[in-house]
Amino acid sequence: MIHAFRFQDLNVLLDVESGAIHTLDDAAFAVVQALESGKDAYSIGVKNETVAEVIADLNELRENGAYEAEAGNAPEVTGGTAIKSMCLHVAHDCNLRCRYCFASTGDFHGARMLMTPETGRRALDFLIQRSGTRKHLEVDLFGGEPLMNWDVCKQLVAYGRELERKHGKVIHFTITTNCVALDDEKIDFINREMHNVVISLDGRKEVHDALRPTVNGKGSFDIILRNAQKLVATRGDREYYIRGTFTRNNLDFLEDVKALTGYGFHQISIEPVVLPEESPYSLKEEHLLRIDREYDALAEYYVNARKGRDTWFNYFHFMFDPEGGPCLRKRINGCGAGTEYIAVTPDGDLYPCHQFVGMSEWKLGNLDSPDLRTDLQKSFLGCNVCTKEICRNCWAKYYCSGGCMANAVLYGGALEHPHEISCHLMRKRTECAIGAYVKER
């Protein structure tokens, strides 16, 4: 399978199974498109001699496994279905009332509550027990807003460090926070202990404040910006992301990326909101062309900005490292929800991932009863880019890895039916990521 597309002034060809990438001149692009659509390449108005040269070039690529390559062999993951990654919902409460919040402003459609240290410790014990031979584990301190349960966060990191020593594991702690309750002590701790920090900030003040009020109904932009800048300024080279959300209210989200770079941030991720169609903020089919144009404009801005030392920044979905990227099995298996990834609520309930929390039919179990629902786990295990027909035939499959399973259930109708709007956006971003990579070579 191949995918040929235009990116700015380039004709780009991706060979899906091998991951090889080529650029084509206009004649070759026309020939490739003709061949893909089953037309006779000698009848498309390109000189016969040129068509023959292009076909010779393609044959040479094919011999080198770089055009229409066969799928590689992807062994099953060593050690089977170990759990290596945990989303710890330390707080089902939040100090903001974001209008697009998937977690119903922090309570996940249940009671507002905090995780006790015991539950947190039992969750970490569970992770260690279930991690098998995996050495590298990940724990995200998540909410709601995790800083609302700060003492427990610190206790759990200390406990995690004990477990690392005892069991010879490495735990990468991360935190996903709105920064509202940040202070110097928390910044020091986070910069010392957290492998990554994900900070939610949407971009322009008016965009952010319109959808992210505090409990008292005031805008949260000023305090978040001040605290996030302080954290990032003292973070050195350690990972962080400014993670914004765009809705139908700011389809011009390039302006939000520009605003974030202007505030001094260099690691940026602005994501499309995913909400039910009837929500006043949801993205619908009628918005897609406009969003595509915005991604194109963002890609152009990104490529140019990265030429300058002072203007350089990373955009999460345009980051693309073909040589250092994951192996085929990882690309097939995807996010690992319900198999290698699990979410734990304040009352110890276990779910396939943070987005399933509160959907009782998807509850995998509870820390009190160590047996997980194997029928559900099997469904997740059996749901990957090879088993889902739509993914199997999708050129973006090894970059997308099958999409978000929670979004599939919520908005696609079933685990096996990816959310189509998300697919469209994923393909567009992947073209931009590959195109930007080619431009930078």
Partner: protein, 47 residues
């Protein structure tokens, strides 16, 4: 080749010595909604 320029040779790693399962779960990275593996790293390559 006259009409094609190779930018990236075949690069998707497969077969023996892959699938160790040590790399980051992709949803644990930045977004927590729209997963991707395009920007994920192989833990072996990171060492």
């Amino acid at each position: 080749m006259k009409h094609v320029q190779i930018i990236q040779k075949p690069c998707i790693k497969s077969g023996n010595h892959t699938a160790c399962g040590e790399c980051q779960a992709s949803c644990q990275s930045a977004c927590k909604t729209s997963c991707t593996v395009a920007n994920q790293k192989c833990a072996k390559e990171e060492k």
